[in-house]
């Protein structure tokens, strides 16, 4: 009896020792953690690829291809987030006939984690968006649209925190001003709040209160407005806030040669990316996290674009 007891205990201890030893060695030698963020914006119901004779984007895009690329990356990477920066709706008859049902179903199949609300996502009104919610197996975030007095209240949260590889990744959403852009009878009593002020609050909550390791903004504000530099845009957002690591943009259908690095209010680097529109491109951002000591020894954070 005692002997069996002993064997059991030793076996258990040995297992614990092995586990303990493993985490100890991984801590001292290789403690780098990696998070892969994939993103789209302004896909505008472009489910099929552009035809070969399209004058602008021949053979580009296509959901079935995007799904294959995402699947391949998921096979290679352990910690993947798939995000969309809004304007999922409107642009092909798939939307006119089915109201966004197929768009949401396909995004659910691809295991999108999160999306924000673009102005065209109101094209069938707040009721039209609500009607498609059952087809979306992913969440929506918008921090500066107040949906309290609409049917969308409780369906859209300001932010969501993901836990991957022991890390906390906080993602909040921002939307463009609706007045003059979207018919009021579509957005009804959705209240638009100043996105820069809201972002200052959000980044504080996510970084300081929630202690997130990575803070991401999913923005449908637009990249930059050359004729109205004061208008809320991703560039202004980056400059006037702190604690945001990455802004994933949309709305302006901006094709960037490469992601843009801006300095925030504290002089720290913020990465901004937007991948055009219509599912022509998929953005990929890989975050590597290490101990403060190692990062300092290596001369600080490096951004490779």
């Amino acid at each position: 009896m005692k002997r069996r007891d002993f064997i059991q205990k030793t076996a258990a201890s040995a297992t614990l020792l092995t586990l303990g030893g493993l985490s100890l060695s991984s801590f001292t030698t290789n403690n780098v953690k990696k998070i892969t963020v994939l993103h789209t914006n302004d896909t505008h119901s472009h489910i099929d690829p552009f035809p070969a004779n399209d004058p602008k984007n021949p053979n580009m895009g296509g959901v079935a291809r995007r799904a294959a690329i995402v699947e391949q990356i998921r096979r290679e990477e352990e910690n993947v987030l798939l995000l969309d920066a809004g304007d999922i709706f409107q642009g092909t008859p798939y939307f006119n006939y089915y109201g966004g049902e197929l768009e949401f179903k396909l995004m659910s199949m691809m295991k999108y984690d999160l999306a924000t609300i673009g102005n065209h996502d109101f094209d069938n009104g707040v009721d039209g968006l609500l009607a498609q919610m059952p087809h979306a197996e992913f969440d929506f975030v918008s921090a500066n649209y107040d949906f309290k007095n609409t049917v969308l209240d409780t369906f859209i949260k300001p932010y969501k925190i993901f836990k991957k590889a022991g890390l906390k990744i906080g993602v909040f959403g921002l939307g463009v001003e609706l007045q003059g852009l979207v018919d009021v009878k579509l957005y009804k009593e959705t209240k638009y709040n100043n996105p820069i002020e809201v972002a200052q609050d959000m980044s504080r909550i996510l970084k300081e209160d929630e202690k997130c390791d990575i803070v991401i903004c999913l923005s449908h504000l637009g990249f930059n407005y050359k004729n109205d530099l004061e208008k809320a845009s991703d560039i202004n957002l980056a400059r006037k806030t702190k604690n945001i690591d990455l802004i994933i943009g949309g709305h302006t259908h901006t094709f960037l040669d490469k992601p843009v690095i801006e300095k925030n209010i504290e002089g720290k680097e913020v990465l901004i990316n937007q991948v055009g529109c219509y599912g022509i491109n998929l953005g990929r951002i890989d975050f590597y996290l290490d101990s403060e000591k190692n990062v300092a020894a290596a001369g600080g954070k490096k951004i490779i674009i």
Binding site: V32, A68, N281, G283, I285, F287, V295, I304
Partner: protein
């Protein structure tokens, strides 16, 4: 036996201590971003497609294709919004067709005549290509779900529209109204139908619900005395119009005349 038991106990404690050390050090060492790598992956014919997605999409596609590929009319030449400074041929066509389709409808419902049609240049989303015109063409030109609204405006606001038009320098589609831009870049000879604009008279303007609510900063629409929602989508007007005609009529009517210095 006692010795063995003792060593097991020590071992257990050792593991516990070890675990605490590891746990403790993990807690104190908050990780920070060491490196970010960013790139863009172009999706094109080089990427393979997942068959299960194509199979999933297929029934939706077939249903839409059957409806959209129906040929409704023929267009003798390509109509394009990027051609023309103050008027585009596609804009002229759309505004004329909208006025033509909504007038009898409004007359029957309200016993009033529509005088003018005002649409927006930005709302035209594709060309009307030469050749077969299908339901798909209508969807491409008018993908939005906008409906038509008739707005009662005083002549003064019509003059405001003309000023807006000249200032915007965009060939917004118009019908039922003509005017001249004089050498001082001001409006002159504004005619509604065949008569000069009367600044105090009420005119009935058909437009989209989007513009009637001040879209594209057409704020003069908000000064209306009354609006009538026709609940007739712009795209359906277009589809119905295509069904009515065999060949798209091309008018070369001058609506806006600019006097150059």
């Amino acid at each position: 036996m006692v010795n063995v038991k003792k060593s097991a106990l020590v071992l257990k404690h050792f593991v516990l201590i070890l675990t605490l050390i590891v746990f403790g050090s993990n807690c104190s060492a908050q990780l920070v971003i060491s490196k970010i790598e960013a790139k863009q992956i172009n999706i094109n014919e080089k990427s393979y497609s997942l068959a299960e997605y194509n199979a999933y999409i297929s029934p939706y596609r077939t249903h839409i294709d059957n409806e959209l590929n129906t040929i409704l009319a023929v267009c003798p030449e390509t109509l394009d919004k990027s051609k023309g400074q103050w008027q585009s041929n596609i804009g002229d066509f759309l505004a004329d067709a909208t006025l033509e389709k909504t007038s009898p409808f409004f007359k029957k419902r309200e016993n009033l005549d529509i005088d003018i049609c005002i649409l927006n240049h930005g709302g035209i989303r594709a060309i009307l290509p030469q050749g077969d015109v299908t339901t798909r063409t209508a969807f491409e030109i008018m993908p939005f779900e906008n409906t038509t609204v008739v707005v009662a405006l005083i002549g003064e606001q019509i003059a405001e529209f003309v000023d807006y038009f000249i200032k915007e320098k965009k060939p917004h589609p118009i019908s039922g109204i003509t005017f001249t831009i004089n050498t001082e870049n001001k409006a002159a000879d504004i005619m509604v139908g065949q008569k000069p604009l009367d600044l105090t008279k009420t005119y009935y303007v058909v437009t989209s619900d989007y513009l009637s609510n001040g879209g594209d900063n057409m704020n003069f629409f908000k000064k209306n005395t009354k609006t009538y929602d026709l609940e007739y989508k712009l795209r359906n007007i277009l589809i119905d119009y295509f069904k009515d005609v065999d060949t798209i009529p091309i008018t070369k009517k001058i609506k806006v005349t600019q006097i150059k210095q």
